[in-house]
C-alpha cells in the first residue's frame, strides 16, 4: 500500500504561547518547532499499516528550509521518502492555499516515484491554528473520498474500511481507494525515533518541490489579541476544612449561587 502523509511543522504544543505585547505577534522565539501532534499520529498509523500490508510511506510538507528537520524526524519513525514544497511564507497561506499546493505536490511526487498513492493521511487538525480543513479541501480538489477524525483504517477488497470517531461512539465508513483520511488520536502513541533510525534518517535526502501558482488567501487576520483575563475572586484558607467550607458557603450564598 502506497501512502502519503501530509506534515505541518508547528511550535511545540506543550509550551504555552502568549502574545508578545511589543510586536503584537504570538511569542514563538525559543519555542522548538515540532511535527504537529495529529500528523505524528497519522504517520504512526501509516507505519503500522506498512508493517502489515507493505508498501512505502512518503511525507510531504510546505514551508522553508527549517521544516526539513521535522521531515528528517519523520524519516526516523517510518517514512521512506520526504518532500518539501519550498515556500518562504507558508504561514500566510490559508487552508485552501495549502490544499492547492499539496494537490500539485501529490501529482509531482507520484510522477517522481512512478507510483500512485492508495491512501493520503493528514492529522485531523494542527495544534497551532486548528482549522481542520486541509485534508477535506485536498480531497475535494483531488476529487477523492475523504473521512475525518478517523482512528482506524484498513484496506479490504479494493476499498478502505475506516473507523471514524464521533461524539457518541464511531461510524464505520467504506471509501473507494484511493482516499484521504484525517487522523484523530488512536489508542496508541507514536513511536520514538531510535538512535540508529535517527542517524540513518540524517543521511537521507529531502527532495524539494516547487509550489503551485499562488492563490490569494480568503482569510485575513485583522487583529491578534489575548483573551480577556478573569479577575481572581477570593481565596479562602483556614485551619480546618469545616471552617473553610463554612466561609465559602457564606460567600456563595451571598452571591446567590445556591
Amino acid at each position: 500500500m502506497e501512502m502519503l502523509v501530509c506534515i505541518k511543522q508547528v511550535p511545540d504544543d506543550s509550551v504555552e504561547i502568549s502574545l508578545d505585547l511589543g510586536t503584537k505577534e504570538p511569542a514563538l522565539i525559543g519555542v522548538t518547532p515540532v511535527v504537529n501532534a495529529f500528523d505524528t499520529y497519522a504517520l504512526e498509523m501509516a507505519a503500522r499499516l506498512k508493517e502489515t500490508f507493505g508498501g512505502e510511506i512518503t511525507v510531504v510538507s510546505v514551508g522553508n528550509d527549517e521544516v526539513k528537520n521535522s521531515l528528517k524526524n519523520c524519516l526516523a519513525v517510518g517514512a521512506d521518502h520526504a518532500y518539501l514544497v519550498k515556500h518562504e511564507k507558508s504561514e500566510s497561506l490559508d487552508p485552501c492555499g495549502i490544499a492547492n499546493i499539496l494537490k500539485k505536490a501529490v501529482h509531482d511526487i507520484e510522477g517522481e516515484l512512478e507510483t500512485k498513492f492508495d491512501l493520503i493521511l493528514c492529522g485531523k487538525e494542527s495544534t497551532d491554528y486548528a482549522s481542520s480543513q486541509v485534508g477535506l479541501l485536498l480531497a475535494s480538489k483531488l476529487r477523492l473520498p475523504v473521512a475525518t477524525n478517523i482512528i482506524k483504517v484498513e484496506p479490504m477488497d479494493g476499498i478502505m474500511r475506516i473507523k471514524q470517531e464521533t461524539e457518541e461512539g464511531y461510524r464505520s465508513i467504506e471509501a473507494k481507494t484511493p482516499c484521504v483520511v484525517t487522523v484523530q488520536k488512536p489508542d496508541y502513541d507514536p513511536r520514538y525515533p531510535t538512535i540508529k533510525s535517527k542517524m540513518a534518517a540524517r543521511k537521507k535526502e529531502i527532495k524539494e518541490l516547487s509550489p503551485s501558482e499562488e492563490v490569494s488567501s480568503m482569510l485575513e487576520v485583522i487583529r491578534v489579541f489575548e483573551p480577556a483575563k478573569r479577575v481572581a475572586g477570593i481565596k479562602l484558607k483556614a485551619d480546618n476544612e469545616q471552617e473553610v467550607v463554612a466561609q465559602a458557603m457564606s460567600v456563595m450564598t451571598a452571591a446567590k449561587v445556591f
Partner: protein, 327 residues
C-alpha cells in the same frame, strides 16, 4: 458569487432524531440579531425527515425562513452538495453552522465549492462596517485572532457555548420545502453508526458543572465529584488527566480538546488550571475551585477559591448544599 446581490444569513441546523441540536439554535439566535441589524433575514436549513416540529423550534430560535430538505441518512457528500446548491440559489452573505463533527466536515467543503473561505471554532461574530469579523482561538486559546473572510459568502463553524439560545414562542416564519437533486455518487459511505455512550452527557447545556482533575487522586475519590454534581443538579466534567486515568469516559472532558462549556456555576475539584482546561470553561458564570495547592493557577480565575484537601472539602460541601436545598 458577487458581493452585490448576497444578503441574509443561512444557518445549517443539525438534527438528531428529528430534534434540532442546541448548537444550531444558539447560532440562529445570534444570526437573528446580526441579520435584524442589517434589515436582512435568517434562513435555517434542516436536512432529514419529519422535521416540521424542528422547523418550528428553529423559528422560535430566530429563523425567518426554514428550508426543509428530505433525506433519510446523513452522508457528508450529499449534505455538502445540498448546502452548496441552496447557497447558490439563496445567495446568503454568511453561512453558519455549529462546529460539530458534521459542521466542521461540510462547511469547509461548501466554502471550497463556492470559492470562498471558512473560519472554524468561532467564538464571536461582529458586524464591522458591513464585514463580518470572526474571533477564533489559536495556540490552544492563549491567543485570539479576529479575521475577515474575503470571499462571498463568508462561511463559519461556531464553537459550542459561544452564543446563548433564546426561544420566542410568538415568533413566526416561513417554512419552505426544497427538493435538491444530488447525484447519488457517494465515494465514502457510512455503513454503520455505533453509539457507545451509556448515557448522554450534555455538558454544553448544563447550568451547573462539577469537574474533577488529577488532584482527585484516584477513581474512588472521583466519585465525590459525581456526588457533588448530583447534589447541585449538575453534570460531571473532567480534565484530560482524569479522562486518561479512566476515572470517567471521554464524553465528560472539558477543555480545548474536549467540550467548551459556559454553565452558570462551575465547580473545579482538584484541578490545577492548565490553559488546556481553563480555555474550555473560562466563560462560566461563577467559578468555585477546590485545591490543596494555594499557588494553583485555577485560583487566578475562580470567584471563590477553597484551599484545602478535596477529599475532605467536597463531602462537607455536599452536606452544606443538601442543607440549603432542603430548606
Amino acid at each position: 458569487m458577487s458581493h452585490s446581490d448576497a444578503k441574509n444569513i443561512m444557518v445549517y441546523v443539525e438534527t438528531v432524531s428529528d430534534t434540532p441540536l442546541n448548537g444550531g439554535l444558539e447560532i440562529l439566535t445570534k444570526a437573528h440579531k446580526l441579520a435584524a441589524a442589517r434589515g436582512e433575514e435568517v434562513i435555517a436549513v434542516l436536512i432529514g425527515s419529519n422535521l416540521e416540529h424542528a422547523a418550528n423550534t428553529a423559528i422560535m430560535a430566530g429563523a425567518d425562513k426554514v428550508i426543509l430538505v428530505t433525506k433519510d441518512n446523513y452522508e457528508m457528500e450529499v449534505y455538502e452538495a445540498i448546502l452548496t446548491r441552496l447557497a447558490e440559489k439563496y445567495k446568503p452573505s454568511l453561512i453558519l453552522s455549529a462546529g460539530t463533527l458534521v459542521g466542521k466536515d461540510i462547511l469547509p467543503l461548501v466554502a471550497g465549492n463556492l470559492t470562498t473561505g471558512c473560519a472554524v471554532d468561532v467564538m464571536e461574530i461582529t458586524d464591522k462596517d458591513g464585514n463580518f469579523v470572526f474571533t477564533c482561538p489559536v495556540y490552544g486559546g492563549t491567543v485570539l485572532n479576529d479575521l475577515v473572510i474575503k470571499g462571498t459568502p463568508a462561511v463559519a463553524a461556531v464553537r459550542s457555548g459561544a452564543f446563548e439560545k433564546e426561544l420566542v414562542v410568538e415568533r413566526t416564519g416561513e417554512i419552505i420545502k426544497e427538493q435538491v437533486g444530488v447525484e447519488n455518487t457517494v465515494r465514502a459511505k457510512i455503513v454503520e453508526v455505533v453509539n457507545e455512550m451509556a448515557e448522554t452527557v450534555n455538558l454544553e447545556e448544563a447550568q451547573v458543572i462539577v469537574s474533577g482533575g488529577r488532584g482527585m487522586g484516584n477513581k474512588e475519590n472521583f466519585r465525590l465529584v459525581e456526588e457533588l454534581a448530583l447534589a447541585c443538579h449538575g453534570v460531571v466534567g473532567a480534565t484530560r488527566p482524569a479522562i486518561e486515568a479512566e476515572w470517567v469516559p471521554r464524553s465528560h472532558q472539558v477543555g480545548q480538546s474536549g467540550k467548551i462549556v459556559a454553565p452558570k456555576l462551575y465547580i473545579a475539584c482538584g484541578i490545577s488550571g492548565a490553559t488546556q482546561h481553563v480555555s474550555g470553561m473560562i466563560g462560566s458564570g461563577y467559578i468555585v475551585a477546590v485545591n490543596k495547592d494555594e499557588d494553583a493557577p485555577i485560583f487566578d480565575i475562580a470567584d471563590v477559591g477553597i484551599v484545602g484537601d478535596v477529599v475532605k472539602v467536597v463531602p462537607l460541601l455536599i452536606e452544606e448544599i443538601k442543607k440549603i436545598q432542603s430548606l
